[in-house]
């Protein structure tokens, strides 16, 4: 097949086909609209599997590259430049995997303005795939900002009672960070004469102070997105107000864009600054782990609890990234991004399912649900345990490699960071089991909960792929590591060289 | 031959009259005409310079300006008509919806 030439563009822009079809449908043809969106995203997932098929695990460099000059400005060349490597392939797959699941979860939940909802959802998939595939800074920035807009509307139109506040907060926080990144991108591109990431990495040679400033420019943008403590306060509001599918994508993919950015841009472009600032970022990450866990524990709203748990979990990811060498932790971090997408995505689906039935997420008004909804209870338990990081499930593999990697890391104080972060493992059990107890265990005191119906087959189908991933990654993560390893090894070698040169 | 400065003087006077018209009159149509006056002042300066430098660019530019002015008048008058229909007035002081 000659498709291979433009496979990445095809994956990225395929959802446009669905958008086009939906535009011709009447807003009242809800089922048709839903099926179109679902089939489009499934096809996109199929295409991304085709990418996986063509992807060579032995090659650490960018693959399936597509490159064309786009604009020449002030001596800097901006190109349309897509490529995939070990750092991004899993995230691309995560995006195309979660989107159909999220759409399936809206089947009953979204009845209002289905047409607009699905169009925004498909547009968002374009933005997200683009972010993970773009290898040109400007193109990356375009996709980065583009992915913001559909989410803004998903929260602002289909959200809860305080949706406008949450949507604007989400937008402004991210934008404020992005501005700094834009300045850094422009400076870097004009200084080096190119905006292409591989060329920039190859050129290198930035003075240490410059690296530091540019690093901060990028890092703040990404830290807002991750979100790192103390820039996280948009996240609970956005999650609480967003519709379930929006939360799934927000937690599952959008947050990963921040962590991915740190990995792809900060570590690759500014190795010296990374080494210099690694202890600081790791410390912030550790604070975030403990802080998120403690704050999650006292939340009364299930969604807020899960939102703060994301702050804690993403802390692990960032800690792993800035453990630098040996790159066990970085590999763990990449896997943990996938794990968090799967587990937290599933958690939000679960919260959504109970919300659809009871129209409340207040844990005090729930309780004893397991008795009336046994299947729901069992599946929720599995997801919660995976989020706790129980061995044999996905979370553990990631968390353990991150903690072990940062324990061994050469970054100053990192064994202490790892040791303190390991306390987060205890605290995760505290807040998640607290939630499980409040919602599922105990007697059925509230008569409103007595008549709840157990999960419908469609809902089980929504969760099933995620459950499969939970156990697959937990029990046999080898194929996943095989995809990651070569590219990370290359990155680690670059960091190693940078460390050597910065000593001399 | 008339010196360049005469032309420029005339152009400046025309421009200034236009400015005063825009700033002092309240009728949107008059303001519009004052705007045209300013355009023409600019055109006059263009033509004068073209003659002075023996270059055609200035003359060509005048054509551009006139085209744009024509287009602008078409749009502007349409706007004024539309405003008059809804507000029953073309007094610009009464059109202050954009007041902060």
């Amino acid at each position: 097949m000659n498709l291979g030439l433009h496979l990445l563009s095809l994956v990225t822009f395929f959802p446009l086909v669905g958008v086009l079809v939906i535009l011709f449908l009447n807003d009242q043809q809800k089922t048709a609209i839903r099926w179109t969106a679902l089939l489009t995203t499934l096809a996109t997932f199929g295409l991304s599997l085709l990418v996986l098929l063509q992807f060579s695990t032995s090659n650490p460099d960018l693959q399936l590259v597509e490159r064309a000059t786009w604009v020449n400005i002030g001596g800097g060349e901006i190109s349309y430049f897509l490529g995939v490597d070990g750092l991004s392939i899993l995230l691309l797959l995560l995006t195309t995997f979660l989107t159909p699941i999220a759409i399936l979860s809206t089947w009953d939940a979204v009845q209002d303005r289905v047409k607009g909802f699905m169009i925004f959802f498909l547009l968002m998939e374009i933005g997200m795939s683009g972010v993970f595939l773009a290898q040109d800074l400007v193109l990356f920035f375009v996709f980065w900002e583009f992915s913001l807009v559909p989410m803004y509307f998903l929260i602002g139109v289909w959200g809860g009672p305080r949706r406008i506040y949450a949507a604007i907060k989400f937008f402004l926080y991210t934008m404020a960070g992005s501005i700094l990144m834009l300045v850094a991108i422009l400076w870097l591109g004009l200084y080096q004469g190119t905006f292409s990431l591989p060329d920039l990495i190859a050129k290198g040679g930035l003075p240490a102070t410059t690296q530091l400033w540019l690093f901060l420019g990028f890092a703040i943008a990404f830290a807002v997105k991750v979100p790192l403590f103390p820039l996280h306060s948009w996240l609970p509001d956005a999650h609480v107000e967003a519709p379930t599918a929006g939360s799934v994508i927000l937690a599952g993919v959008l947050l990963k864009m921040g962590a991915y950015g740190l990995l792809r841009f900060n570590l690759s472009l500014f190795p010296q600054a990374s080494i210099q600032l690694a202890p600081w970022l790791a410390a912030i990450a550790v604070i975030g782990i403990l802080y998120g866990a403690a704050v999650a524990f006292v939340q009364k709203d299930m969604k807020k609890l899960v939102a703060y748990s994301s702050v804690s979990h993403l802390g692990f990811v960032v800690l792993g990234l800035f453990a630098l060498t040996p790159s066990i932790a970085i590999q763990g971090s990449i896997l943990q991004m996938i794990n968090h997408g799967v587990s937290t995505g599933a958690l939000f689906l679960i919260v959504g399912m109970i919300y659809e039935r009871r129209h409340t997420r207040e844990m005090d008004r729930l309780g004893g649900i397991w008795k009336v909804m046994p299947v729901y209870g069992a599946l929720s338990l599995i997801v919660i345990l995976s989020s706790i990081g129980l061995p044999g499930m996905n979370g553990f593999v990631g968390e353990f490699s991150i903690l072990l990697g940062s324990f061994l890391s050469t970054v100053p104080y990192s064994p202490w960071f790892a040791g303190i972060a390991a306390l987060g493992v205890i605290l995760a059990a505290v807040y998640l089991l607290h939630m499980f107890e409040k919602v599922f265990l105990g007697p059925l005191n509230n008569p409103e909960n007595a008549g709840l119906k157990d999960l419908r087959p469609r809902e089980i189908l929504t969760l099933l792929p995620l459950l499969v991933m939970i156990f697959w990654i937990g029990l046999y993560p080898k194929p996943f590591f095989a995809l990651i390893t070569p590219s990370v090894a290359k990155l680690a070698a670059a960091l190693q060289t940078a460390a050597m040169t910065s000593i001399h | 031959m008339v010196p360049l400065s005469y032309y420029l003087m005339l152009s400046a006077v025309m421009f200034f009259l236009g400015v005063l018209g825009v700033m002092l009159r309240r009728n949107a149509i008059i303001i519009f005409m004052s705007l045209e006056l300013m355009f023409n002042a600019a055109n006059l300066a263009f033509v004068a310079f073209a003659l002075y430098y023996h270059s055609l660019s200035g003359q060509i530019f005048v054509f551009f300006v006139m085209t744009v002015a024509a287009a602008e008048v078409a749009v502007g008058l349409a706007l004024i008509v539309a405003i008059f229909r809804t507000k029953h007035s073309i007094n610009v002081d009464q059109l202050s919806s954009l007041k902060g």
Partner: protein
């Protein structure tokens, strides 16, 4: 040679679990129970075959199953496999787990049949056996691992099963949430221990570059020479894990609450197998502990202190299962003290015999409870709901069950005597071996603690037997108690036989178990049989029983009478009864402050500072804009004036610069 069968010890329970999960609903109770028991039994069969193979070929064999975590980096690899390690130590554990496990599965068919009806949800019968098979699976993973991380998988896996089974009746217990809270407490206390395990693994990996047992133990001495501190750190952090899982000071608090689970669970998980995982871990890591005398001493002292401490609490409990729970903690203290002193074989020996007699005691206690429950139903039908708050586990409500539940009484007696260490029952030999080792290894302090604990053990077991079985019934349900069906009593008899003859495993002078374990644990010294010490231990035990008889046997407790011991001991008894206020202490010291801190972070800090900072920036901008908006007058002509002024300024700048 059957070594290749080794993975099946894990696979059989897995199959049983999956079958029951998928088609259990159609099988009926007998079918479900049969499949689950068969799964455990087949697992036991495989373990027996492995034991035979090892008898012929005692060298450890590792069977690779699959690669698990392969992280290769230029500066170090983390490469681990799913692999089953077959050696004398792991097979000993497998035999105990699957053997006792199978008996308990069979017993549970009968027990749960009644229990699910008593608690009003027969649908949960299947769930119980799914959990039980999952537990056998996890426990097998734990004991058969060939690296620490896989051990950890089993370690947390059994913790999960413990969580699920303690909270099996999650809508029951105090205020309806008591059981669920007990389950959470168990999981979190264990997680604190697991934190120690994690750190120990990090330290091991940083010192040895591997988590595989073989790599670590073969190079332990070398590393100890280079970095003596690291071995100490490893072993101490591992001790934290042990105190969590094996319910030692200071993390033991979860085990008494864990009695909220159905009784077969208490027998299997919280007495016979899971809680001994800590002892197994120390025995498994013997190569490391032998190199860190300080850690060894610490372990021994933790064990000895726990043994005595828990025994004092057991003396003053009224709940039949709580007595056994504290007794378990105390006996685990014996084992931990043994392995801490370096007497690994003695510790393992006690582990095995304890699995027999404590499993037996719990199961018989379950039999007693159901007998009384049966009586309760009987009388409840006669009297209406007169005694709504009747507690079928409270020993003050029992008495005189000897004649009504004959089989249960005799097996209970066997178990109690074995636990008290009466010659020639299993407990006598295993406990005596630990005491002898303490003497031989020159640990007089530990010895004194353990002997005192042994005295208390005999006393509280005597108290329990007299209170439950002797005298007259102190309540109507007890008077109408009924013996249980053979499905439940037969496993009891089997375990009773094991409790009686279990000592033969490692008779003084023969040391079968010791020789067997020596293939895996190097440097074992068989304990000498010290006759005076053995006689002393026996005398102490008899004294304890005599004292119990004089207080509770000679003049049996009457209905509503206060415990005679409380008169003699006064406030000390009250302390023991209230468990020395340890739970309250933790509540004040740990749980309360964490709640307060989390509340502080969530409201004043997160909402009041961090979120407010963001929103404050927004408000500031709004204020600024509100001020600036006045510039927009809405008069087109003033805008034009501004444009003109701007133009003039720019022109002026260009001209006059």
């Amino acid at each position: 040679m059957y070594f290749n069968l080794a993975p099946w010890v894990i696979i059989f329970p897995l199959i049983g679990m999956v079958v029951n999960l998928l088609v259990g609903k159609r099988l009926g109770e007998i079918g479900i129970g049969a499949i689950a028991s068969l799964a455990a039994g087949l697992s036991f069969g495989v373990a027996v075959l492995l034991a035979f193979s090892l008898a012929a070929h005692p060298e450890a064999v590792t069977v690779q199953v699959a690669e698990w975590i392969p992280i290769y980096t230029p500066l170090g690899n983390l490469a681990l496999s799913w692999a089953v390690r077959v050696d004398t130590l792991s097979v000993t554990m497998m035999l105990v787990v699957a053997g006792v496990g199978t008996l308990i599965h069979i017993y549970a068919i009968g027990y749960m049949h009644q229990d699910v009806r008593h608690n009003g949800d027969p649908g949960r019968f299947r769930r119980f056996f799914v959990y039980m098979n999952l537990f056998i699976l996890a426990m097998m993973v734990l004991v058969s691992a060939d690296n620490y991380l896989m051990t950890f998988v089993g370690w947390e896996g059994v913790g999960l099963c413990s969580y699920l089974l303690i909270g099996f009746w999650f809508e029951k217990g105090q205020d309806g949430i008591g059981n669920a809270k007990a389950a959470k407490k168990a999981f979190i206390a264990n997680r604190v221990g697991d934190f120690g395990f994690l750190i120990a693994m990090f330290l091991i990996f940083s010192a040895f570059g591997s988590l595989r047992f073989e790599d670590i133990f073969s190079r332990a001495a070398q590393v100890a020479q280079a970095q003596p501190g690291i071995i100490l750190a490893i072993t101490l952090f591992m001790l934290l894990a042990v105190t969590g899982k094996s319910a030692q000071l200071p993390l033991y608090v979860w085990l008494p609450d864990a009695m909220a689970g159905p009784t077969p669970v208490s027998a299997l998980i919280h007495a016979a197998t899971m809680v001994t995982a800590g002892v197994y871990l120390v025995a498994r890591s013997n190569a490391l502990y032998s190199l860190a005398p300080v850690a060894q001493n610490t372990v021994a002292w933790v064990g000895a202190a726990t043994a005595l401490f828990a025994a004092t609490i057991a003396v003053a409990q009224y709940d039949i299962k709580k007595v056994l729970a504290y007794s378990t903690i105390s006996q685990l203290g014996f084992m931990v003290a043994a392995v801490g002193m370096g007497a690994f074989a003695a510790g393992m020996f006690h582990l095995v015999t304890h699995a027999f007699f404590k499993g037996l005691l719990f199961l018989s206690a379950g039999s007693v409870i159901q007998g009384v429950e049966h009586g309760e139903k009987h009388t409840g039908a006669a009297h209406g709901s007169a005694e709504a708050s009747f507690d079928p586990q409270d020993m003050r409500n029992m008495g005189g069950l000897r004649s009504r539940m004959k089989v249960t009484f005799w097996v209970y007696l066997a178990g109690a005597l074995a636990l008290a260490g009466i010659f020639p029952l299993a407990g006598f030999f295993s406990k005596d071996e630990i005491l002898a080792e303490a003497m031989q290894l020159n640990q007089p302090g530990v010895l004194v603690f353990l002997v005192l604990a042994a005295f208390l053990t005999a006393f509280y077991m005597g108290r329990q037997v007299f209170m439950v079985f002797f005298g007259k019934a102190r309540s109507d349900p007890a008077a109408h108690a009924q013996e249980n069906p053979p499905l439940m009593t037969l496993p009891l008899v089997a375990l009773a036989v094991l409790s009686v003859i279990g000592g033969a495993l490692n008779l003084p002078g023969v040391h079968t178990l010791e020789t067997w374990l020596e293939h895996t644990i190097g440097g074992l010294q068989p304990a000498e049989f010290i006759l005076p010490l053995a006689l002393l231990a026996l005398a102490v035990a008899l004294l304890g029983i005599f004292l119990a008889w004089s207080l509770y046997g000679r003049s049996p407790l009457k209905h509503g009478q206060v415990d005679p011991l409380s008169k003699t001991l006064g406030p000390v008894f009250r302390g023991m009864e209230r468990k020395w206020w340890v739970d309250e202490f933790y509540g004040k010291l740990v749980i309360g402050p964490y709640h307060a801190l989390a509340g502080l972070l969530a409201q004043p800090v997160d909402q009041g500072v961090i979120d407010a900072a963001g929103n404050g920036l927004g408000t500031l901008t709004q204020g600024l804009s509100a001020w600036l908006r006045r510039v927009q007058t809405g008069f087109v002509r003033s805008y034009a004036l501004a444009v003109l002024a701007g133009g003039v300024v720019i022109l002026a700048y260009i001209i006059f610069r």
